[in-house]
Structure formats: C-alpha cells, structure tokens
C-alpha cells in the first residue's frame, strides 16, 4: 500500500504537467489492447506505463503478464474499472498522465537487446517494431524452425492436415515414454524419419509447414494421438503393419 501512495506522489505532478503539455497526435490507435497482443500500440502502452512507474520490465511490444499487472495497478490507482485491458477510458487517462516519445523508446528498446541500429527492420524510422514474440507454451522459435524443416522434408506434398499430423507425431513422441524427451532428440533419432536420413530436412521450408507446426504446438492433433506413421506404398518393415491403425491422412497411415 505504501508503495502505491509513493507512486501517487509521482503521478500528481505529472497530472499538472500534462495539463499544459500539448497532446501528442501520435497516440494509440482506437483498438482495445488486451493481453496477448503484439505491436506498436503495446510498445506505447508499455512505454507509458514505464514512464509513470507501473511497469518495470523491458519494453518489447508483447502484452504479457507483467504488462497486464502494470495496467491493472494503473487502473486501480486511477479509479478505472480493473479489467487489464486498455480501452478508450484507460488510454485517455494514460495519455493525459504520461508522455510517449517514440524515438526515445525506440532507442531504449534496441539498446537493451543489443541490436545494431543498422538492422534492416529498424531502418524505417517511422515504425517501432516489437523485439519479442509470442511462442506456444514450452516451445522456442527455434523449435518451430527445426520442426518446420522436418515437416517440410517429410510431408510437403501432403494436404494441410497431413502436415499438421506429422508435426503432431513428433510432439506425441516427445511426450511418450518410449521416445526421447526433446524435439531434436525425436527428430534426429537415427532412422526415425526418412527426410532426416536423406538430408531433405535441410531444404528451406515454406510458410505452410511453419503454420502446420504452430497449429500442432497449439494442440491441434489430426492423428488421434499417433506415434507412428508410414506410407503403405513404400513401407519396408512388416512390423509397422502390426501397429493399431488410427487414421489415414493423404498418403500416410497413422498408428499407435
């Protein structure tokens, strides 16, 4: 509680300052900003909350939990309905109470992440780009890349759900007790995937493969919990035919 009064002491002078300062024209767009959002509005929101002392983490343009709590505290202190979303009332109060300098924020953002200013994405001066990104729970962007490679190598000719299915098999194996516990462990298990054995995994994947991987990581599983699949036209092992079959998708049969 004490801390909050302390914050109030800071806020009051800002109020007076903002009464005289001309309103900036480049304030928020008119969207309601909610948790999970990414973009310039989020950068502005974080910068403003940081300016007024509610937000202490790095400004990265991704509305995560820290931003959420900061916004709720702001709403509490300013007597706005506490919903953790930046709607018109909240944004109005924020704009009144704080300052936002895109140039300064940009400088700060790229400094903290050690980014050279020559970066192609930063060259466009008018635009401030997020320095972070949302990822499915428990995965890294690099896992997505690696899996997209595997899916593209294994199933690029398959229908979309067939590509999601191959990604699902990889994830189901990671969870399964009889397989390695990491994505790379499953993918690089010798002879587990033909595309890994013949090097097709190192082709450059397309957007479709990446989307399929993201869907699988977010819980879509067209295979019905399969841990094996095979192409009946080319399968050489009689053993694979003995597995209980769940589904046929495109050229592949998926089994337990």
């Amino acid at each position: 509680m004490k801390k909050r009064y302390y914050i109030l002491c800071w806020i009051v002078p800002f109020f007076f300052m903002s009464m005289f300062a001309p309103l900036k024209s480049d304030a928020f767009t008119d969207q309601v900003i909610r948790q999970g959002a990414v973009g310039e509005d989020v950068i502005e929101l974080q910068a403003r909350l940081k300016h007024i002392g509610f937000y202490s983490k790095e400004i990265d343009g991704v509305f995560g939990w820290s931003t959420y709590w900061a916004l709720r505290n702001f709403q509490y202190e300013f007597g706005i309905e506490i919903d953790g979303m930046a709607g018109s009332t909240t944004k109005e109060k924020l704009v009144k109470a704080t300052k936002y300098d895109p140039e300064q924020t940009k400088k700060e953002m790229y400094q903290t992440t050690n980014q050279p200013t020559t970066n192609k994405q930063v060259q466009n001066k008018a635009e401030v780009t997020p320095t972070a990104t949302n990822v499915p729970h428990g995965f890294s962007q690099n896992d997505i890349k690696l899996m997209a490679n595997a899916v593209y190598g294994e199933a690029r000719g398959e229908p979309y759900e067939g590509q999601v299915a191959v990604a699902s098999v990889i994830i189901n194996r990671v969870k399964h007790e009889n397989f390695p516990n990491t994505i790379s462990g499953v993918i690089f298990e010798p002879r587990a995937f033909t595309a890994v054995a013949d090097g097709q995994i190192w082709l450059t994947p397309n957007k479709t493969a990446e989307r399929a991987v993201l869907d699988a990581m977010n819980g879509w599983d067209p295979t019905g919990d399969a841990i094996y699949y095979f192409n009946p036209d080319t399968a050489t092992s009689p053993w694979i035919w003995s597995r209980p079959q769940i589904k046929k998708i495109g050229k592949h049969i998926f089994c337990e």
Binding site: Q31, V32, R34, G36, A37, G39, K57, D60, W65, S66, M85, T113, Q115, P116, T118, N119, Q121, T129, P130, T131, A132, T133, N134, V135, P136, Q141, N142, P159, Y160, E161, V164, E177, N178, F179, P180, G185, E189, P190, R191, A192, A197, K207, R211, D215, N218, G219, W220, D221, P222, G224, D225, S237, W239, Q245, I246, K247, K248, I249, I253, C255
Partner: protein
Amino acid sequence: MIRNIVIGVLAIGVIGLSVFAYNSNKEKENFLTSVENNYQRAFHELTYHMDLLHDHIGTSLAMNSKDSLSPQFVEIWKVTSEAKGNVSQLPLDLVPVHDTEQFLHEVGNFTYETSIRDLDDDPLNKEEIQTLEDLYEQSAEVKDNLRKMQHVTLNDGLKWVEIDQLLADGSEEEHEIIDGFKAVDEHIAKFSEQKNPLLQSVKNEENKYGLLKEKKESKESIEKKVRQLFSIEEDQPLTVTKSEQDASIQTYSFTSELDDLYMYVEMTENGGYPLSLLIDRDVNDATISLYDGQIKAEKFLEDFDFETMDLYETQQFQDVGLYKFVHVQDDVRIFPDTVSVKVALDDGEIIGLQAYDYVRNHHDRNIEKPKLSKKEAEKKIHENIQIEEDNLAIVENDRGDEILAYEFIGTMNNDTYRVFIDAKTGAEEKIEKLSNKEMNFDMMG
C-alpha cells in the same frame, strides 16, 4: 610428336582422376568411420548401463538403511534414463526395441516414485520388494544378452553402418545385431506379459468420453451437419474419410478446397460433434485487434452450442489470434474441458477450432463445496508469491482423477505463476510459470 602429347595429356588425366577418386573415397571412409564410431559408443555405453542397472538394483535389495535406499533409487532412475538415451541413438529403425524402451521406462518410473516417497513413514512393502527382485532377475537376462552381443560384435568386427545400410535398402537379410536385439526385446516382452500393477502407471479414464456416449450418427447426417455449421453450399464437393478401426474416437474427416483456402473438419461419429477445424490460407495484415477477434471467437462458440466458456489465455501470432477457453460450471473453471479457437485478424474469419478435450471430458459435474476456505488455501502458497487473482477450478491430477482446487495467479520476482491448491487436502497440486514470449531472434542483426 602429336602422339606423345596426347599420351602425356591422357596420362595426366588418368593420374588426376585417380588422385581425385582416392581422395573422395578417403573422405567417404572417414565420414563412415565417424558415423560408425558414434553408433559404437552408443551401443557399448548401453551394455555398460544395463550392467550398472542390474548391479544397482541388486545393491538396493541388500540395503537395509532407508537413508541409503532413496539415493540408490535416484541412481537407478538416472541410469535408466541414460540407457534410454543410448537406445535412441542406435540406428534400429523399426526393429522393435519398443519393449526394451518400455522396460527401462517402467524401472525408472517405479524407482522414481519410490525415491520421492518418505521411506521412514512408508517403507517398501512386500509386493514392492518382490517387484524389485523380479526386476533384478529380468535386468540380469537383458544385460547378459547384450554382453553376449557385444562380445560377438567385437570378435567379428560387426559394423553398425552395415545395419543402417541393410535397413535403408529394406532388405530382409539377417544380421546378427538385429537378431540379437530382437531376442532381447522378445525376452522383455515375455516379462511384461505378466503385468505387474506396480509397474504400470494407471490413469483413471472413468470420466472420459463425456460427449461420446451419445449414439452414432450416419455419414450422411454428419455431412449435412458440416454443411450447415460451416455454411458450405450443396454443390461444393466435400471429401470424406472415416477413421481406421483402432482409433479411440471414431470420426469423419471432411476436406474441401476453395479458390484460396483449404478446409479440414473432423466430426465425431458419436453425437456428431465438431472435434477440429483447420482452414489453411494466407492471412493478410491484421486490420482488427486481438480484442475484436475475441468477440468473434466468443460468438462462434455460442453459435456452436459450447456451454458457458471463459477465456483464459490469448496470444497473437503474427496476424492470427489464438484464444483458449475453459468451460465454467457454477463459477468453477473446469480445466479438463477446454476449447481453442483461431481467428484470422485480417478479416475476422474463424480459421481454427480444437475441441478434443472438451468433447472427451465434458459432462455435467457434481461439484462439492470446498473443504478449505480461500484464506486457508492461500496460506499453503509460497510466502513470496503475491496473489493477484483466484478462482475455483477442477483440474486433473497425475492419476487422471478430477479434483476441486483453488487456482491462484500470483507474481514473484517479476514472474507470474499459476498455482493449484487442492480444496480438500490443501496439497500443492500443480504450479506453472506463465510465460509464452521470447525475444525475437529475427530482430537481431
């Protein structure tokens, strides 16, 4: 003169070619040797680990003091995990090592469960000691078989790359190593036939298949439903596939290709519920906000007759919004009943639905009153966590039983955590660190 020049040129050509051939052959050999060495290491380590496993189990049988027993079980658990790692590095393809892996998993699981138990209060009982004795015997057989194979491979100079080659060609030719592994696996399969309940992790499936108890519907009626739900015209062709016989949920999958999008819908045969929807298309720059997408997603769930759903997690991936909903009954969040919806933020179209958990688990629950008050439950949480939000919730525990719990969301050192406290016993049922974002590596120079 000309003849000599020609001979000279040809001679240089021949020498050059043979140098080239020699070099590339040498390179290939070096490469094969390094691959072979990796396989050899994995195999020899495996035999060593199996030996060690057997010894450790034996030692644990001879141990009397509880203080040394728990660390010993941890040691066994570690060795099983290392042996599993070795197996996964061998080029065994589908030569069934399934049972070997299963065996290692069961041993590891059993010893792990025992090692985290307070053996002073709850010492090993007769069945558990019997189980250990059985495992001791079984591991002896496995290790002896592997050691014999190791002896043969070393004596005869057998190569793993040869197996790799054999399996790649799909030849039916016999190979001693493959036969050896098959024999090991068959041995193990024999023990696992005498199922020991202590080694199986049994999950409670009683409450499963909530909506799947309803009666089967015909393919035609489900197709009609799909056309109606997703407003697909009669003349638009739909391809239908039925799931295979061993699927735990019998479904019909429908696919359809329109000009610029591809649609996949999966419906359950029992009750005709939508299990999954995927629309694959290019999504243009977002014109609506994540919040507007939420309204679309909520409307969609309402239209689809999903009962009272609460949004509990949202993420924006480029220009797509992902919304995770949980079912709410009597103000209690039912975490086994979740649904995810994907919305394209360029025009607000629903491009994905995923309701596996909802369909599998949803039923009307008889929710008891919590035994602990919220205040009492709060005391069970780490004192440094500052609680920000709370709910009553139903969650599944490790055994697959549904329990009533308090869900607390709180912060500690700038991180956010979700903690479930059993509302009956006060046990800390589950703790998750909530973090789904990562520094964008593409932004780095």
